[in-house]
Structure formats: C-alpha cells, structure tokens
C-alpha cells in the first residue's frame, strides 16, 4: 500500500471573534494510491477543512498551525505559486459539497470548462478542450451537446453533480476529492453516481478521497475508512475491518446508529449528547462526554494514536499500545 | 492674465491716452475679433419666436442693440434724448415729430412715419394712446400726435412717448395686421362716458376688444422668425445659451458702431455670472454683488472697473391692512419703529442707502428732497429705530409683554406672523429674513416664506401674507413722482397693502368691485382728500407749483399712514473690462485713487455717464462710446 498523500500532525485553526477554532487537530491521515479512501464524521468534524488543506485552499481566516502534508513525496505546504498552479486541479481536483452552487450561474458550462483549461495549460485549442469535455461528459452519462450549451440552472441536481465530476477529471488528476458528492440527491441518483464513480475509479485508476457522513455510502464505495470526530482522526483502517470490528467507541456507536434495511431494527440507539463546540473543547479526549467507557484519564489527556501492523489506527485510551488493539480484536 | 499689468498700472504708466480715441484696427491687441461680450436672456429655442411682442419676447438686453425708439431716456435721471426723432415740437394740442431720413430696417426697407403710426394703431393698449385722439403722418418723415383736451403737461407728454422704447414696427412686414387693427378701431364710436378711458378716445366694446386681441395674437405669431429692427446690430443666430448679433452695415449713424459683433450669453446662475466677470469673459456686466465678492473680483482681475449708482427703486415691506392687527395704524407704526434699517441694508444690499426716518412715501428716497418741500419733510413723523416708542405704541393699543419676552395681543394671544418674499430675489429675501429676526427678537414671532416668484405675486395680491416684500417707492416706466405714486396708490403696492375699492350695486343688487381706489384721508392741512381724485387730476395740472403741492400732500399722507417700510434704496452698478475694451470711462482721474472700486459719483456729468452704463431697464444702451482694444 503506497501512500499518495500523507497528512501528519495537521492542525488548522480559524481565528474567530469568539476565540480560536481548531477545525483540525493534529490529524494524521494517509491516502493510499489507487484506492478509494473515505473520511466519515459528523457535520463540523473537520472533513472539508482537511480536504481543503490537501488542496491548499483553506478558506479565508483559516491557517495551518502545524503539521505537514506530502503528496507523492512532495511537501504540499511549501509549493511556490507556479508549482501550486500546476498542483491544484492538475494533481488534485475536487467535487464540491454543494455542487448545486459550485457553478457560476451566469455562464454556460462550456465557457466554464474552457476557462478551467485556460487557467492551466494554454497549449490546447478550443476544439481540443471541448472534445475532451465531451468525452468526459459522455463518460458520466450526460448528453454533451445539451449540457455544454446549458446554464447551470437548466440542469437538475444530479446532472450538475455529474458535470462537476467531469470537471474534476478535466486535467487528469491523480487524486479526486469527493466532498459529500451525493447529499441532497435522492437515493436513485445517489446510487447512480456511485456507479459512475466506481467505474471511473476502475477505468482510470484514480485515487479518490470520499468525504461523507453516510455510513452506507462508505460501505458501498470505500476501500479504506478514516473516522473524524471534532477535528481529530480517531480511527482509520480497512473498510471490512472497520465495519465488522470497530475499535473506537465512537465508531462503534456510529455504526450502530444507522438503521439498515436488512438487519434487526429493534435495538438501535443514537449517540447520546451532541458533538462538542469547537470553540469550547472539553479537555482530554473530545469524545469523553458522550462515551460510556470514559474514565478519569479520558478527561485529562487526549489519547495518542496507535498503529497496528495491519494498517489499522485508533486513538483511544482503551488501547494504550498496538498490542492492545489486537487484544480487543480477539476478545 | 495675472502677470500682465492691470488698469491701475497702465494708468500710472501713462498708457491711457489711447483710451480717448477709437483704436486703429492694427493696434487691436486683445479683442481682434471686435466682439462685444455681454449677458442677456431670451426664451430658449424653440421658444424663441423672433417677434419682440411674442411671448417671452426676444430678450431685454438684446433688444437694446436691435431696436430703437423715437426717443431715448435715462430712467433714473429723467433725461430724454432724441433718437429716431431728429426733432420735435409741441403746440397746446399737438406734438410733431420729425424723423431722420436715412434710417433703414434690417431688411433694407426704409424707415418711415408709417412705421410709427403702425405701432400705435396695432399696439393700441400703449399708455400714451389714452391721451391721444389721433396720429397723423403728413409725410414719410413727419408724425403729428393729437392730444386730448385737456392735454397732459408738456414734460409728461414727452415721457409718455419716450417710454415706448420701441415705438415702431416694420409696417411693410406686418401690414396685414396693422390695417386690420386700424379698421377695427375705425368701427368704434367716440367715448362719451368720461369716467372710462380707451385708446384714441374710443369706446371699445367687449366684442371689439376680443377682435383686437385676436388680431394682436395673430400678429405675434406671424413670421419672420427673426427680429427686424433699425438698431445698430442685427440678428444673426440664436441657440439656447448664445446669441450672435452682427453689425448692421446700413445703420444710420455708422460712426457710433465700433464692434463687429455682439456675443450675448445666457447664464442664469449668479455664481456662474460672477465667474465670467472674474475671468474677463464679459466686456460689460450690470449688477453689484455682495461686498466681499465684489472686492474679491476686483482683486482677482486687475482689468475690471466697477461703477456704482442708485437704482430708482427701494426694497421694502408692506403691511397687509386686510389682516388684523395690521389694520391698526399704531401697530404698523410700532413695527416700523422696531426695524433697524442699517442692518437690513447691510445684509440686503450693502451698497444701498437706508433712509431711517421715513416709512414709505411713494417717492424714490434719493429724490425726496428734490421733489418734496423741505417744510413738509420736516413735518413728517420720524420712524428712526426706537424700541421704547414701539413698546409704548403697543401698550397703547392694549398689547402686553409677557415674562417670556413675547408680546400678547389684547386677547392675550401670542401672535405669529408671516412675511412673504419672492424666492429668487436675493436682496428682498435676505433683508426680509433679517426683518423677521428683528421682529422675533423684539417679541413678535415672525417667519419668512420665500415663495416661488410666480405664485408669490398673485398670493400677495390676494393678501395671503401678513407682510409682503416688493419694490416700493418705485416708478416703472419713467421717473416722475406721479409715476411712482401710481405704483403706490393704483398698482402693486395698493394690492399688497390692500387698499379698499369703491363698491357699486349692479342691476341685480349685487355688490361689485369697481377697481377704483376708495381712500379718503386727512392731508397735511387737516382737510380730507379723495386720493383717487388727486391722482386723476395730476397729469392735467399745467402749473408746476400746484403739481408739487399735490405731491407734497400725498407723500406726507403716505408716510403718516405707514402702510409699509422702505428698507433701503437699491444700489446697482456696472462692470467694465478695460482689457478688451477702450473708451470714455467715467471718473478716469479717480480710478487709481479708488483702485477701480468706484464710489457713488457726485458730479452730475459723471453721474449721467455712469447712469448711461447701467440703464437699469427700460432705456437703451449702445456701446458707442467704447471700442475694441
């Protein structure tokens, strides 16, 4: 498993009027090459912030307060202006959370595509650009002729999302970040889009990072999962492993909180309490106020992450060292 | 040109000798195009109609260069000169005028006596026609005016004729309308009712009057769209903001015309006018700005000279006697005692002259001593500011002053008065504001309403304000005590003060207003006079001494009845630009002494020369004594 992106000790802060907001807190995270990695977590847990850090596109008051990000062996944080232009969208591209609003409402899709090309390589002729766009649109099962000449508002939500996927592939990136690509779409469209994504992944061998809070989607699409909670990556590992044997109490509860079509529905329970206020973080493990295993240490100290050889990682005081993870696994 | 020497430097350097003679073409330095730049106003095209009698006319200033009358007179001095009339002579019942024989209309047609006759037949409402029985033209260059019996005294006859500054129209152009008017007049029967008056002593029936008016209206619409006159300059071009007049080559006095063109600009905004003056873009400008601006203009442009003169008109306030308590003489007098005229004058028109003693006399204050006997003047009540007197008078009529400093009327009510003033008239508005402040400060709350000038006058005539601002002690037309008395008792002042009229019962028993003044007052000798009668008989009184007596009495009555206050007599002035213009500048020897800010002239010749510069209106000025430099 060769890592494409390695995030180490990443901390991102937003200075706000009410105080300093840590959206991502000393997070470690690895995106293996050629796989679909999912990052799950509740709203506000820092998924998008982490992704935008990888894209070097943290929104205005935000700043990286510590840690590093390497992409294919290069330090992303130290890229110069020129390199950055060649990095963004050409190496890493993104499908945005609110695809509905990610297109300029007053420009035709075609113009926006050409604009994107122009911003990067000037060697393409307009025809080449349009041809490439046509192929991609065809690929995401849209009618290129109609879509290219449309304004965003003339497309349905599902169509816009697919246009955005085509957009992300325009410059043959190595990594595509999919930020909740299907929220606000209905089930059938959602399934359909995942079909397309999986096909793209297979055909083009593109590494993908999928940000979502829908456990079902993770199960369906991802090879590897990371779980975020209040800015911390609390657990990460292989998808089967995670679903069958979640380690972190939060992960376990999260899995349990999702109703399923096929399993027994009688005993499902939500996680009590609510996610912490990032401006008023409790000391210690951020999950401890909602955790039934919490003990004294949890209230004082944020647990350190432990890694198992099998590529599983977890940050919880229940697992003081790698062996203990295995222990629990067997028990 | 700040670095170029100014007028004072040039005078000191002895560079002024050329100013007494027309400058040879080769020596013209600053005004090579020989254009005379002035300001003027006219209706903007397409409103401009080319007929001076049409609506909006062709513009007052402009007319001076395009039209002439039989006579020409300086309004404030009452000097009458011949113009198109070569000479004239009076008999008891006639005035005969001989015309210059080489005068041409701008279109080339000769000017004849028929053109004068045409004017009065067509424009039969002109004042003088009321005193005439007929006009005869024995030949092309002679006109005989036949006066009614009795005839007005000789001086008045001349003034009546001279006030028609454009007493002729081109008969060859307007023949159709003149003949029609003449025919209509011939239909009328002679007047029998002596209390009425009509043109040429004719009884114009309502039906006839309508026909005459219609004919007049058609005449005003008739072409040509450009004015045709006999004046030194003829019309060339007009836009909304500029008018060009061109030298009339066939002018009968070719030597009097030194400029090739007159360029008239229409600039309504006062600050813009000042700016033009300062920039030296006008050769002549009439008007006197507030003191500080005047001084700064002179300072900034060293070529300008400013001449100052009295305007035969005063700014004043009239009490509306229709409203209580203004019907009470003592109240009016009390208010008059409150006013501090010096302050009113300083703010209203700094260079004006206040006459603190009088209230309102019907006579231009600066000629009061000339027109009214000294003994009468001495017997007039002195209204010089006197707050104690004012308070005393108020108390006499039952008013009391509260501890808050406000006066209360006999009913115990605090009054609140409104002074009305036309809003575009700065001297009036500004001084009225100060008057309001003085009344208020004295304890009689008063506010000013500066009203849009077009409604102001009809509102004031209807008595909508407690006090109204207007020109007072002023004569429009020509300068004569009788003329200014007319304004007081018969015209503008009458309606604003609200003198009563004679009421008559008509056939149905309804009361009708005859429009005739109903004012009977005690005169200086203690006898009661019917003012209307006195005024009516005045023009026919041939004896000068008797005329003076009538005026003495009327002036005294006016002052005693205190119908209004003369704030100050207006001062006006004229600016000359000596850089582009040379000529016979008045008071040349004193220019250095006063550094071009000339004081009121005392010498009669100088006075006259300066009055020539600023004709006021109703007189004609031609730059014949000035030439390009």
């Amino acid at each position: 498993m060769e890592p494409l992106v390695e995030v180490r000790g990443l901390t991102i802060e937003f200075p706000m009027r009410a105080g300093l907001l840590r959206a991502v807190n000393e997070a470690d995270f690895v995106i293996p090459k050629g796989q679909i990695t999912a990052l799950v977590g509740e709203s506000g847990s820092g998924k998008s912030t982490m992704a935008s850090a990888i894209m070097r596109a943290i929104s205005v008051p935000g700043r990286v307060a510590g840690g590093s990000i390497t992409f294919d062996g290069r330090d992303v944080m130290s890229l110069g202006k020129k390199e950055l232009q060649a990095y963004k969208w050409e190496q890493v591209s993104m499908v945005f959370q609110a695809a509905q609003n990610a297109l300029n409402p007053v420009a035709r899709i075609k113009d926006q595509i050409i604009e994107t090309f122009r911003a990067h390589s000037k060697s393409y002729t307009e025809k080449q650009m349009v041809d490439k766009a046509r192929n991609l649109l065809d690929y995401v099962r849209l009618d290129p002729d109609r879509v290219l000449n449309s304004f965003p508002h003339e497309l349905s939500g599902g169509m816009k999302q697919r246009v955005m996927i085509a957009f992300s592939l325009l410059l043959d990136p190595q990594l595509v970040i999919l930020d909740e690509p299907t929220t606000a779409l209905d089930v059938i469209t959602q399934a359909y889009i995942f079909d397309i994504l999986k096909k793209i992944h297979k055909d083009m061998n593109i590494t993908m990072l999928l940000l979502t809070h829908d456990i079902g989607v993770v199960a369906k699409a991802a090879d590897r999962v990371g779980v975020m909670y209040a800015g911390n990556v609390v657990e990460a590992g292989d998808v089967y492993d995670m679903f069958k044997r979640p380690k972190h109490p939060y992960t376990a509860k999260l899995m349990k909180a999702v109703p399923s079509l096929y399993e027994d529905v009688s005993e499902r329970k939500g996680i009590p309490g609510s996610p912490p206020d990032l401006l008023n973080m409790p000391p210690g493990c951020p999950f401890h106020p909602r955790c039934e295993y919490a003990h004294a240490k949890c209230k004082e100290q944020n647990p350190i992450k432990v890694y198992t050889p099998a590529g599983h990682e977890v940050a919880c005081h229940l697992y003081p060292n790698p062996e203990s993870v295995a222990e629990v696994r067997t028990s | 040109g700040t670095s170029a020497p100014g007028l004072v430097d040039r005078l000191s350097a002895g560079e002024v000798k050329d100013m007494q003679q027309p400058v040879p073409d080769a020596q013209i330095k600053y005004n090579k195009d020989k254009i005379f730049h002035v300001l003027g106003g006219w209706p903007k095209p397409p409103l401009y109609q080319g007929n001076p009698f049409g609506s909006g006319g062709t513009g007052d200033t402009n007319n001076r260069y395009m039209f002439e009358g039989l006579f020409f007179f300086i309004r404030s001095m009452n000097n009458v000169y011949n113009r198109l009339a070569e000479s004239s002579e009076d008999t008891e019942q006639t005035t005969t005028v001989h015309l210059h024989q080489n005068v041409k209309w701008h279109d080339g047609a000769p000017f004849t006596s028929k053109d004068v006759w045409a004017y009065y037949r067509l424009n039969n409402g002109a004042e003088v026609t009321k005193y005439l029985t007929s006009i005869e033209t024995p030949d092309d260059y002679t006109i005989v005016f036949h006066w009614m019996n009795p005839a007005p005294y000789p001086e008045l006859r001349k003034l009546l004729l001279a006030q028609d500054l454009q007493g002729q129209i081109p008969y060859h152009i307007y023949k159709k309308y003149v003949d029609k008017a003449d025919a209509l007049l011939k239909e009328a029967k002679p007047l029998t009712d002596k209390s009425k008056d009509g043109p040429f002593n004719l009884d114009i029936t309502d039906e006839l009057s309508k026909k005459i008016a219609l004919n007049w209206n058609e005449f005003t619409r008739a072409g040509p769209k450009i004015p045709v006159g006999t004046g030194p300059y003829k019309f060339e071009k007009v836009t909304t903001t500029d008018m060009l007049l061109d030298k009339f080559e066939d002018y009968w006095r070719p030597d009097a015309v030194h400029f090739d063109k007159i360029w008239i600009k229409n600039v309504p905004e006062l600050s813009a006018q000042y700016a033009l003056v300062k920039a030296g873009k006008l050769d002549w400008y009439d008007g006197t700005p507030p003191k500080d601006i005047l001084e700064s203009l002179l300072k900034q442009n060293k070529d300008l000279v400013h001449y100052r003169m009295y305007d035969p008109a005063s700014v004043g306030l009239m009490y509306n006697i229709r409203n209580k308590p203004f019907d009470n003489l003592k109240f009016r007098q009390a208010l008059t005692y409150v006013l501090d005229k010096k302050k009113l004058r300083e703010i209203g028109n700094f260079y004006g002259q206040e006459y603190p003693k009088i209230s309102m006399t019907g006579i231009m204050p600066s000629s009061l001593e000339k027109e009214v006997d000294k003994s009468v003047l001495d017997q007039m009540t002195d209204y010089t500011t006197n707050l104690d007197k004012a308070a005393e008078l108020l108390k006499e009529i039952g008013w009391t002053k509260g501890s808050d400093g406000l006066w209360r009327d006999p009913d115990g009510k605090v009054p609140s008065f409104i002074i009305g003033a036309p809003n575009n008239w700065a001297p009036g508005v500004n001084s009225a504001q100060i008057a309001a402040e003085q009344f208020t400060k004295f304890g009689i709350p008063t506010k000013l309403k500066a009203v849009d000038s077009t409604i102001y006058f009809s509102n004031a005539d209807k008595g909508q304000y407690d006090m109204s601002m207007d020109w007072v002690d002023v004569s429009w037309g020509f300068q004569n005590p009788w003329s200014s008395m007319r304004v007081l008792f018969w015209q503008g002042t009458k309606t604003k003060v609200g003198f009563p009229n004679v009421k008559k019962k008509d056939a149905d028993g309804n009361e009708v207003d005859t429009g005739k003044l109903d004012l009977k007052l005690k005169g200086i000798d203690g006898k009661v006079y019917d003012i209307d009668k006195e005024m009516k008989r005045f023009p026919y009184v041939q004896d000068e001494q008797e005329r003076r007596k009538i005026i003495d009495n009327l002036a005294w009555i006016a002052n005693e009845n205190c119908w209004g206050v003369n704030f100050f007599q207006n001062a006006t002035g004229a600016w000359l630009n000596t850089k582009t213009m040379s000529g016979n500048f008045p008071m040349m020897d004193q220019i250095v002494q006063y550094n071009r800010d000339m004081p009121l002239a005392t010498d009669p010749d100088e006075q006259l020369a300066i009055t020539h510069l600023n004709h006021g209106f109703n007189s004609t000025y031609m730059p014949e004594e000035y030439w390009p430099r």
């Binding site: 994107t116 957009f167 | 397409p46 409103l47 008016a213 077009t454």
Partner: protein, 333 residues
C-alpha cells in the same frame, strides 16, 4: 419570457402612464395660479390695460376658459393625445409642446445616459475592487467619499466644477450644449463640441453618483464572494482577473441593474437644478420653467414623457436583467 407576460407588462405600463397622466392633470388644475396669470400680467403692462381686462382678452384669445368643467378640458386633452398632439404651450403661445420636447429630450437623454453608464461602470468596478481587496485603503476612502457626495446637493457640486474647470482653468465651456459657431448635424466637429459641452454636467452626475454605486456594488460583491462557485472556481485555478470580471462582477452587478432604472427616473425628475447651473437645454430646464410659470400643457407633456421614460427604463432594465441573468424569466411581475 412568455409573450403573454411581456404583453401584460406593456399593458400594465400603459395603464400606469395613463393614470399618472390623469393624476398630474387633476393635480395641475387644482393648483392656484396658472400661466394665464403670468401672461395676463405681462399683457397688461405691455398693452397698458387693467389685469382683469388682460385676463379676459387672453382667455378669449387662446380659447381657454379656466372655468370650463374639468372633464371637458380633459376630453379635449385626450383627444389631442390620440393624435400624438400634446397641445400648445401656454407661456409660449405659438410653440407646441411636441416641438419643445423634441428639442429638449435628446440633450437630457444624452447627458443622463452617458453619465449613468460611466458612473455605473466605474462604480461597479470600484465596488468590486473594494470587495475583492478588503483590507486596503480603497474601502474607507470610497466610503467616506460616497457619504460626502451624497450629503452635498448635486447642483452645488455642479457649481464647484463650473468654478474650477470652466473658470479657474478654462478647460470647459461655461454653458450650453454646443457652440453657436459649429453647424449642428452629424459631423465630427459638432459631435466633439457636444461632448465638450456635456463634459461638466456629465462629470457632475458621475461624481455625485459614483460613490453610491461603488458602495452598493461592494455590498453585493461581498455577498457573491461568499458563494460556493467563487471558491470552487478559484480552486480550479481560474485566474483572479477572470474571477473578478466573469464571476464576481457579473453576478454582483445583477441586483444593481434594477436600481439603474430607478436612478434614471430619479435623475430625469431631478435634472432641473443641474441643467440650470450649466444652462443645459434639456428637459429639466423646461420642467423648471413650466412648473414655475404654471404652464399646464407644457408641464403635462413633460411629465407624460418623463413617466414614459421611467417606465421604458424599467422595462429595459428588466430585459437587460433577463439577458444577463439566464435564470430569470419575465413571468412574474
């Protein structure tokens, strides 16, 4: 945009104009004083007769009777309107209102549209810049400028400009729409001369309105900057210049288009003061004249034309809006 919708809009506009006309008609007849008063006053002095007599003669002359029932007057007026005849001016007896408007309207439209376009374009660019580069000196400078210029009446600014540029430096003419020396027509000297004369009035409008445009635009642009598509585009690597022009400006401008029409109407109605300062022969001059002298017919005609212009401006702004914003369909409204 449905045809029916457009027709309906036009229909409603027509009715509005008609009612506006009725409103002004009745208002005008209700006001004290009329052009006849002024005219009679002149006539009386000119012809040396009493005011009553002059009044009588004049009403006979122009076949106008103020005591005539108001509906008869209205009927006559409407009859004329049907033939496109706005009647004759009352103060200028042989000039038709049509002629006056034909002379005045082009000048006002010229000055207003040029200054509106200029100030709009500069304003939105400044506004966009203020929004884009938040922490520069530009923002406070323009804000204060906008506040100051909106608190000083615009004709005072006009006078100041006149004093400085026309008199102090003599760069621009003092008054008028063109020099009497040039020949009016479609020739270059004339056009240049017209521009030269229009410069100061235009500048006055531009100076006094630019700040407000900039502030409004800034507000709008700040909102747009927060939109997802801006972030998305900048991540896609779209250059700042493109972002500014094609994304921010284009979108932020949209709500201002409607204001454009409103401003147009406002300026049309408010032009008398400025046109007076520069002696500019536009509508404002005649509106001022007609109002002052109570020339009903002239005023009526001018107000009618102004209302139509305002409504047309509104319609135009809707069309422009629809053109610029593909999302809008003219159905509603």
């Amino acid at each position: 945009m449905s045809l029916k919708g457009v027709l309906k809009r036009i229909g409603v506009s027509l009715i509005t104009v008609f009612l506006a006309m009725l409103l002004t008609f009745f208002l005008l007849r209700m006001t004290p004083g009329s052009a006849i008063d002024t005219w009679a006053r002149d006539f009386a002095t000119q012809r040396g007769m009493s005011l009553e007599e002059a009044y009588r003669q004049i009403t006979a002359m122009i076949n106008y009777n103020p005591k005539e029932p108001i509906f008869t007057q209205l009927g006559r007026y409407l009859g004329g309107l049907l033939h496109g005849n706005l009647g004759m001016s009352m103060i200028y007896q042989n000039v038709s209102v049509n002629e006056i408007i034909a002379n005045a309207l082009p000048w006002t439209l010229f000055v207003l549209s040029v200054s509106l376009v200029i100030s709009f374009l500069i304003g939105i660019n400044l506004g966009a810049m203020m929004a884009f580069k938040r922490k520069t000196v530009l923002d406070p400078i323009i804000s204060i400028y906008a506040i100051l210029t909106s608190s000083v009446p615009n004709f005072i600014v006009g006078i100041l400009l006149l004093v400085i540029f026309a008199f102090q430096f003599g760069w621009f003419p003092v008054n008028g729409a063109y020099d009497p020396i040039v020949e009016p027509g479609f020739n270059l000297p004339f056009i240049l001369n017209v521009l030269y004369h229009g410069a100061l009035p235009i500048l006055t409008y531009v100076i006094t309105t630019i700040g407000t445009w900039a502030l409004t635009m800034k507000g709008s642009a700040v909102n747009v900057l927060g939109e997802d598509y801006i972030v998305a585009a900048s991540i896609r690597g779209v250059s700042e210049r493109t972002l500014m022009s094609r994304y921010v400006k284009r979108n932020a401008m949209l709500p201002l288009i409607t204001t454009l029409a409103v401003n147009f109407g406002f300026m049309l109605g408010g032009s008398p003061l400025i046109e007076n300062v520069f002696s500019y022969p536009g509508m404002g001059y005649y509106i001022g004249q007609a109002t002052q002298q109570r020339d009903y017919t002239l005023m009526q005609g001018l107000l009618l034309v102004t209302s139509i212009a305002v409504i047309l401006a509104n319609l135009a702004s809707d069309l422009i809006y629809a053109k610029l914003d593909p999302r809008v369909k003219l159905e509603e409204g």
